[in-house]
């Protein structure tokens, strides 16, 4: 952990001032200030969406959004974490759905309420064009929703800003699952392999391998041919 005392700057964690080293991320700065984090922390690497943070810089009326584990502190930062957002999520049985606009609209009718204001896109720490995938959702274009939303880490910041009370990321994952299950082309070679395994094609070979001594295995391993890059 960074222990260097040089260059301390003031930040405000939920309104209270702390002096922290200027090189830290928001998350490490909170720990440096003495917080043992339970909420608002997960992967610490920008993948889980647990550390959504809203902040403002003193004297600047604009609101900024970021991941606490990926954003470096700035002097005069006023920050608040949003570790949990009560967004609506529908339950469904993915095996019983059809990959159509009707499905999307019946499970999440609020899709059609999107105002196209773009507040969501501005808030997204993944720089996803949330408005664009919501617009694709209104058109019922499931493949486009799936593609545009792919990098979503479900942090909830978009939902927290939405005047139409959308749960964008829950809509997006439904679209991705519909795409993955129904619209993406199935892999032929995978099906072939499953058939072969079911028919026991590899059983004898595996049985033999399991019975080999270490020396025999080493010899086989060395003799493997390596598929070129």
């Amino acid at each position: 952990m960074a222990e260097q005392q040089d260059n301390l700057i003031p930040i405000y964690i939920m309104g209270k001032q702390y002096m922290v080293p200027s090189t830290l991320t928001i998350m490490k700065a909170m720990e440096w200030a003495g917080y043992k984090l339970i909420r608002g922390v997960g992967c610490r690497g920008g993948f889980c969406g647990a550390c959504a943070t809203v902040y403002r810089i003193m004297g600047d009326p604009k609101l900024y959004f970021g991941l606490a584990c990926q954003t470096v502190v700035q002097p005069g930062m006023y920050l608040a974490q949003i570790p949990f957002f009560p967004a609506q999520r529908a339950t469904y049985d993915i095996t019983k759905l059809e990959p159509t606009a009707t499905t999307l609209f019946s499970i999440y009718p609020e899709v059609l309420r999107c105002l196209g204001c773009g507040a969501c896109s501005k808030a997204c720490p993944q720089e996803i064009d949330v408005r664009a995938y919501m617009a694709a959702g209104m058109r019922g274009d499931i493949a486009a929703v799936a593609d545009i939303s792919f990098d979503c880490i479900m942090c909830g910041l978009c939902a927290s800003r939405c005047p139409a009370e959308e749960a964008q990321y829950n809509i997006a994952i439904l679209a991705r699952r519909l795409y993955g299950r129904y619209l993406a082309p199935r892999s032929q070679h995978l099906q072939e392999r499953l058939k072969e395994i079911r028919a026991g094609k590899f059983d004898a070979e595996l049985e033999e391998l399991k019975g080999l001594s270490k020396d025999e295995l080493v010899a086989r391993y060395k003799a493997r041919d390596i598929e070129p890059k």
Partner: protein
């Protein structure tokens, strides 16, 4: 604007100068003998003085890093007289851990007729699974076969893997891919549906399936979504880590004591079978290494399973990922996926020269990076780059990927990496990344059988917490595979067990026995374990 300071930019110019020549150069791979020699000399696992042999329990003598030994030999959170008479909840199968292993187990237990409670430490999905970028292995192409996969796994693991576990891994693999597809996971595919598959370290065939570089996240969020769809049968309780297993008076698993992380209150969840899927322990920072792991990776499962009498294995080997971020300081230790090398990225030293075959097995690759940076007096090559904070590293030349595979490749295949470095002003399509090994994966853990069972009746296990599948070194892409293969197997087995078991009275006699054994052996590490979270607060 480059995010690198001028001293480092100077070395980058050397990397640029050799790039065109290096495209045509393949650094030779090491022989098995050369691999052994470099491991002995430079891999952290071979630093004898940093290891501890267990003094108590069923695997007495098992070596492991000192930091881990301390907590495995720790004191329990609760006393043996903890009141078990009124469980907070009761269920058929209790799944401990909300990562990919736990989610798979919960789904299969439910499909096999069980009511399930899943408890997890932080939020559901705050897990190593969420962070995996590279992909998942399965031998499903015609030029590949489960037998070839088997050889790769065993050779990568230094021939110490448990054969039956490897068999289960490679034979289930294609079925797992199909299962994930059916649940709606979006694999990278050609327009005709052919899976796009890449090499990984130690593979002899291209069999790494991916979902851009959010492979683990895509698996995790899909499984999590499906678990949430089955809310009638699967109850998820977050911020409630297990701190102890409960057995019945016949030594069968009968649930666990969980702690509400926010209130500190302990309670008993009674179950007829338990699946332990708590993941690894990178946050114990062995030998002071930074880690790629999520915040809750503190090896809790190893601790509590051991106290309940399950044997451990393979914990004398930890996986240090060769390429952790070494710059900037804010992301020190975070993973730079192996896929960068899979796509053609090359490790090069401060002089801009290659020094290792890019896709050696991980332990060998990591040892080679350490050697390249180590001073000449210590037998190293002294050709690392040192950052302003004193962190050594070597370059991972990413821009070369676009010269090999065409412009735009990086942005398409590695969006998470582009974003992560971009946040600090480094454009990896134009500049290399500085990397150094980082603590990544727990190769060993609780011993399991092919059906997911352990030495403790009714206790099943899946994922990184287990030991035996990967021997002494796991290959990339076999862990996402392991958690789904053994998650499914343990979930199925746990459901079956819950339907036939006759539970006796719940008991903490094993905790009493543990305390007695520590006392008699005079072992006092001064730690209450599992520790649940690392402490990063500053102590003035």
């Amino acid at each position: 604007m480059s995010g690198y300071p001028p001293e480092m930019r100077e070395s980058i110019r050397k990397v640029e100068a050799t790039r065109a020549r290096r495209i045509k150069e393949t650094f030779p791979a090491m022989s098995l003998e050369e691999r052994d020699a470099i491991l002995q000399a430079f891999h952290p696992d071979y630093k004898e003085e940093t290891f501890h042999a267990l003094r108590v329990g069923v695997s007495k003598g098992q070596r492991m890093p000192i930091e881990l030994g301390k907590i495995v030999e720790g004191w329990p959170h609760i006393t043996p007289d903890f009141d078990l008479s009124e469980p907070f909840a009761e269920t058929d199968v209790l799944v401990i851990g909300g990562g990919g292993g736990g989610a798979s187990a919960a789904l299969l237990a439910q499909e096999n007729g069980a009511k399930v409670i899943l408890v997890t430490k932080l939020r559901f999905g705050d897990a190593n699974t969420m962070m995996a970028q590279g992909g998942i292995q399965a031998a499903d192409r015609p030029e590949d076969s489960p037998a070839i996969h088997y050889l790769d796994v065993i050779g990568g693991g230094h021939f110490t893997n448990v054969p039956e576990l490897v068999e289960a891994l490679v034979m289930d693999a294609p079925f797992v891919i199909e299962w994930l597809e059916e649940l709606g996971m979006m694999f990278d595919k050609e327009p005709d549906g052919t899976m796009i598959e890449a090499h990984g370290g130690g593979t002899s065939r291209k069999r790494m399936h991916s979902a851009r570089d959010y492979s683990g996240a895509e698996i995790m969020r899909t499984l999590r979504d499906e678990v949430r769809d089955r809310e009638d049968d699967i109850t998820v309780i977050e911020f409630s880590p297990a701190v102890e297993l409960v057995l019945d008076d016949n030594g069968q698993a009968a649930g666990a004591i969980v702690m509400n992380l926010e209130t500190g209150v302990y309670s008993y969840i009674k179950a007829k079978a338990v699946v332990l899927a708590t993941g690894g322990g990178g946050r114990l920072h062995y030998q002071g290494f930074p880690t790629t792991n999520h915040y809750g990776a503190t090896a809790d499962g190893v601790v509590i399973a051991y106290r309940a009498g399950a044997r451990l294995g393979y914990l004398e080997s930890m996986q240090y990922h060769p390429t952790g971020a070494a710059f900037p300081e804010q992301i020190l230790g975070l993973l730079v996926t192996e896929k960068v090398r899979g796509l053609g990225g090359q490790p090069v030293n401060a002089e801009g020269e290659q020094f290792v075959y890019p896709l050696e097995p991980r332990d060998v690759e990591a040892a080679a990076l350490i050697r390249e940076c180590a001073p000449v007096e210590q037998g190293g090559h002294g050709k690392g780059v040192v950052t302003p904070t004193g962190q050594p590293g070597v370059w991972l030349d990413s821009p070369i990927i676009e010269m090999i595979k065409g412009p735009g490749t990086i942005k398409k295949a590695l969006p998470a990496m582009v974003r992560q470095f971009g946040r600090f002003g480094i454009d990896i399509t134009k500049e290399p990344m500085l990397v150094y090994p980082t603590l990544h994966y727990q190769n060993g853990g609780v011993r399991l059988k092919p059906d997911g069972s352990t030495d403790v009746p009714g206790l099943f296990i899946a994922g990184e917490v287990s030991g035996g599948v990967h021997g002494h070194n796991r290959l990339m892409g076999n862990s996402l595979l392991e958690i789904t293969v053994f998650g499914r197997r343990s979930g199925r087995s746990a459901a079956a067990h819950s339907q036939r078991v006759k539970l006796g009275a719940p008991s903490l006699a094993h905790v009493a026995a543990w305390i007695k054994e520590l006392d008699e052996a005079g072992v006092d590490t001064g730690v209450i374990s599992p520790i649940l979270l690392p402490d990063y607060t500053r102590h003035q």
